[in-house]
Symmetry: D2
Subunit: 446 residues, 4 copies
């Protein structure tokens, strides 16, 4: 996941970036950072933790300038450290530069090895740093040419933003796997961000999505910006998981409301649901939108019979073994009074390892529910994603190893349905292709 | 608000208290603390912040013992400091004691003045400290008699828990304004907590509510506990606000599911709602339960058309004046795609100053909603509460100064309905009296 | 030990107190604190650590007012905590008060017990808190009468300073065991401090010593101050250890230069030293002054053949057992090139347990010194001091258990001399009595 | 200045390095760090502050391995940051490396520019980082060849230590400007350190000095080490300032005791001192050794009439202008009782800007001294040093702009003598050349 934002021609570019990162906190809580250019030099502040903890008024006041880029990092591995926070900065022969990146470069290791063999010194494990080194080593004369040259050597699904003393470069990979939208600030500046919910917060006007393979080049002080296509054209494939669970429901991706797509998924599920139930129960918060679509289609009540504790964050003390289920219960508490002797259908957004579903079903049974049907608003996840999503290995993915009936048995549900791939695609809208790797194993970037 | 918990006869009493406080975090995020008795001495750890940040495995490991009391503090005033965190401890002539308190003593200032005039040295502004001094100064021989004597001098709405080296005393005020329930732990110990949601998390079994005016006395190592009525009997009056918005929806207060009471409030509202709307929109999270009841009764769709950002906590940078509405928007974002050209009814749990409702209506209009009706699942708040709820003064309470039509006009809604007091009472259940001060000004504790 | 300072009628009273505490840091590095009265209320800042780390410009700027008292705490026990930092403050019926104390109350436990039996709640283990409670509980009308009454119940060797909103009270115990001097600031204010080296730093003029049993009462805005004798007159007995090693050499105590007294001690030692040596070696820094007197008298060279590492503070990692001697060596390093094949006399200020002397002798031998004579500029320490000095128990004091020859053998020195008690007294000056408990066991305060 | 240490073949290499850095804390208090190789990877811990604050038992326990290098940083410029702490580490194509450096590269800026033009990304302002980049970029096959190649491109006065997974390289510049000594640990390992005082502390045996232009190569597990001369031979020139004030008096540099050299300087000064004085007063601690030599030669008493407050560290609050002299007084306090009406000679180690001498003379006069003669145990400093010492510019150096009489007048002394250059050289010993840049402007490295 991760979130990126770029701002130019705004007096308080770093403050705008801060609020945009705040709105996109759901895309990454591991670390955050903002770089700002004051026209001469680039200053950066980054740290581990959530946006609200990392920045304060004084820190933002020190980040003065009209160009800013920012990043929220999603924890993809246990061994991440401060060194793995973005933006990544460097002083190269063309001056200060700063880079942020959302996605994954599949040829990361080869490029890194070659760079190290040629004397580059790395300070992180991030593929982002590859690109900074490629820019620094490039012999091209302009930063634009250097950046393009570097991207030619970097395969993967990504959005990059590069700030220099007076320019902001924004680029989306040829397939457009990760979302990226352009907006206009009230004060005339531009903002580019992973999700449109960032625009709502700061009352920026949505202009258009950045196109797959498109590079936008903004210059400080200029209202015009340059757009170039730097790759051969290919069929775009936005990642279906953005609709399924990455994005905030109030974001609009490629013209589609995430909330409405999710409701449609729930509706599609409902069409093939054959059981008789007293009511629909979403797993909060991820299953709520689909459950609303599901309940509306079948005209059966929706009950918030599982309560979520929103204070559960990164830090709580691991329960001992005697307190089994506690880890899920800290977050989700089913209501006995509501569930007792009821037949229900539970709506969730996906089944990955199956362990959470199993625990939820167990808690619901313990709370007295009679029949518990499980309806999942996405297809079976059978393949690891290597383009930037932190999915587990084949061995860990329950649907890579068990058929639906076996998964049902494992979870303890009385029945279990998934969306199939066509239903997923038609719920989003058939008019274009999607990245469906996790469902069909089509690794289209090689 | 605030939350209190007491645990006895459990090997890891402090860990049980920790999880109970975690489950009751919604009742106070200002500060937390736990005291534990190891049979000889009492150790305490308390700090400002949320439970998950204050405690870690090592700190809990240092809090060894079979008796624990804990507290979450709700910020009732801007000038609170670490000194105002609970538990409050002392070494008196009977040994170490520790006290926690949920509520408000209305004769706090007189008692405090008299204590100071007699040489008591205070270290906080809390009324809790009054009681600790009264106990320390009492000439009674037993801690029980001292505690009872101290409570006789303390008027108000409260729950107190007092730990000594080998005893746990729990008491609820004569009117039973604040909730307090008794549970049984799996390992045979007892737990007493403000809300039953604390029992669910640690799989404690609900035993019964503590009665108004009842003192329970537990002794370490003994399965028996003593129950005494220390006050003349009066009509109990549990605070209606517990049902309206204090408690977690999954708690059971005096035998009633908070979630179901809230749904009933929504249903009662719906019965008198006369407008035609496309769908129902809750203000999340406080309005969701009532909105479900409302929508189910009228058989109209419920849409989560306002998205809440749960990362908004205590710490974010105050927006500048140019970014008006941002403070509400950081938390609540209406979805244009869903709302455009729709007639809607918005369900919220209360109107206090009216400013938030006004901003929400404005945001919804900006998002394109056509007609916006506002339905409030509680009566007009016309009086300040002085028994422990942090309500504003007369001047600030919009319904103390404006009639419904004027409030409607102020908020910008197209229509506005409240529950009336009788409807509120019947939604909870008519069988008993409630504390309704905020609605009718009946200050029954003098 | 500990250091106290009081300042009145100075615009930046807290800053003056800060520098005075800085100059008296040698009297205590465990914790420091300053209270300041702005004419209405008293504010306090205290923390563990050294003065330079605890205060900064902003903290001092927040401590505005013309009356300040301050304290450096000497670590007398391992279990001290922040609660044991001074000043100790309270709001009593006469308003805010703050107290600092240098010394030890021998009836601490009885008074504390009686206070607790009467309902007082203690927050520290300090005897200072006794006096605060006695003041708070007193029924006398004025603070002066209350303070005097409290002192009547407090036996021991001490200096107290009490600040109220507009007064500063300063008192020295009837025997004057601890030093206390009055000075005049350049801006007309007064300063009272444990040692005169504090005056030098801030260019205050020495006025006179506070008399044993004298209470000085200063009032804000008034140039006059009141002096009263609150105790029956007794023979004063200043603590001889102030001259031996507590005080800074540049302080003047009761009219005598500490440096010159120490030189005189060295000279007195030299008179009875019979061995032939190549040069004199002081143990730095405590033995330097005496060594200078010793060498000057005998007209033999002084060599700084042991180098002290002044970076050794509270925090360094305890060496493992293989690295024996390292703890002493971290602080003291003998120079082989200088010592090799030399006969020397080592001058130190005292022998307490004997372990350090033993290690130093061993290091000197290892460095190649041939004959090593040890001359100690104080008498044998045979009795624990209970009036405020942190001396070990009988069992630990080597001279309480061994005669001089046995001590010599234990340390490994080739010869060993001490000052005898008369020589000590005559080195300081015979004209008055001294507290010589550690040498003669005369516990004169009962 | 700065201090470096390297350890190999010792089980607790990082702990040995820690104590060595502790012993050499006087060479730099700005920042410290240690790298350790466990045979595979290199781990590093570094931070701003003093050694004792930066490391603790747990941190050292995490730095496991038999090879360690460490560094104390001297604050040479106000803008230093954590990035400017050493060691500097990198993962290059030959694996992890770590480098520390004491000294100054005079061609730093040219090399750095060329490296950046070729794509190197810098993370600090240190010349040390140049060498790391040169090693990383080198095409040579072995680390030894790469390191040698890098040194060929680096002109200056330095000691470098380079650790790889299984080797330790140590090198001293061709002129041997900075000291570097080899020692043998008790457990058979080797230690190389800037000063021999580090050996004393950990009871390592001095083996020999590293020769100018010599590279020593140690391999983990091997008792043998390789020695190569990597530069054409030139006349060595150890920096005279090491003897004058950098080194600890208990260190032995090139066979000479620093303490004895300083005493000799004092003696040489004394030979040409013609005034009549009552006694000699050193400016502590820097002037003490010379003062002892001075006093012994003239057979006049030495008095420690200026007391130094060793608690003065980095952190104290800057005095306001009314408190003039306070900054010097915080550190140095002259004793009126000793100085009054006396004629004295003050011994200090150098005069740089003249401001401190001026303040000391003023304080001594204020304390009542009659005649004050000043004798400086080094020649007039007339030239800035650019080889690693933080001396001021021409404009700031008082002796670059004033003759002796004018300096005397400026300081207020009654007479003033310096050592001349020949006297300095003969005090150290005439047998070899020294770096005397500050005195004669002979910038011998070009």
């Amino acid at each position: 996941m991760c979130a990126v934002v770029g701002v130019i021609n705004s007096k308080n570019a770093s403050t705008v970036a801060y609020y945009a990162l705040f709105a996109m906190q759901h895309r990454g809580q591991e670390a955050s950072g903002i770089s700002v250019s004051d026209g001469l030099n680039i200053k950066t502040h980054k740290a581990r933790g959530e946006v609200g903890q990392i920045f304060n008024t004084q820190i933002l006041a020190n980040l003065k300038g009209e160009i800013a880029i920012g990043h929220n990092r999603y924890s993809t591995a246990g061994n991440s450290s401060l060194h793995d926070a973005q933006p990544v900065t460097a002083t190269c022969s063309l001056g200060d530069i700063s880079l942020v990146h959302n996605g994954n470069l599949i040829n990361k290791e080869e490029v890194r090895k070659e760079l190290i063999d040629n004397g580059a010194i790395f300070h992180s494990n991030m593929d982002t740093e590859n690109v900074v080194h490629l820019i620094a080593k490039s012999k091209k004369e302009t930063l634009k040419d250097r950046f393009v040259e570097s991207l030619m050597q970097s395969k993967g699904a990504y959005c990059f933003m590069l700030a220099s003393k007076n320019k902001l470069f924004v680029v989306r990979d040829p397939y457009g796997v990760r979302p990226l939208s352009l907006g206009r600030l009230k004060d005339g500046g531009y903002i580019v961000a992973s999700e449109t919910c960032a625009f709502d917060l700061i009352e920026a006007e949505f202009v258009r999505d950045v196109k797959p393979g498109e590079m936008l080049i903004f210059t400080q002080g200029s209202d015009e910006f340059e757009s170039i296509q730097i790759f051969d054209q290919v069929d775009p494939r936005i990642c279906a998981f953005e609709y399924i669970y990455f994005a905030r429901p109030d974001s609009i991706i490629e013209g589609k409301s995430v909330y409405e797509v999710r409701k449609k998924m729930g509706e599609t599920l409902a069409k093939k649901f054959k059981e008789k139930v007293d009511f629909v129960v979403p797993v909060p918060d991820s299953g709520v939108s689909a459950a609303i679509g599901f309940a509306q289609y079948l005209k059966i009540p929706l009950e918030m019979a599982i309560v979520r504790n929103h204070y559960v964050g990164r830090t709580f003390i691991e329960p001992t073994q005697e307190m089994r289920n506690l880890k899920v219960k800290l977050k989700l508490n089913p209501m006995k009074k509501v569930l007792e002797d009821k037949d229900i259908v539970v709506i969730d957004d996906s089944v990955v390892r199956g362990t959470t579903s199993k625990k939820i079903i167990a808690l619901l049974k313990q709370a007295g529910a009679r029949k518990i049907h499980l309806a999942i608003a996405c297809p079976e996840i059978k393949f690891p994603d290597i383009y930037g999503i932190d999915t587990p290995t084949f061995e860990e993915l329950i649907s890579a190893n068990k058929n639906i009936e076996e998964v049902r048995e494992y979870t303890g549900a009385d029945s279990l349905i998934f969306l199939d791939i066509d239903e997923l695609v038609s719920s989003i809208g058939n008019e274009r292709k999607y990245s469906l790797i996790s469902f069909n194993g089509d690794y289209f970037i090689q």
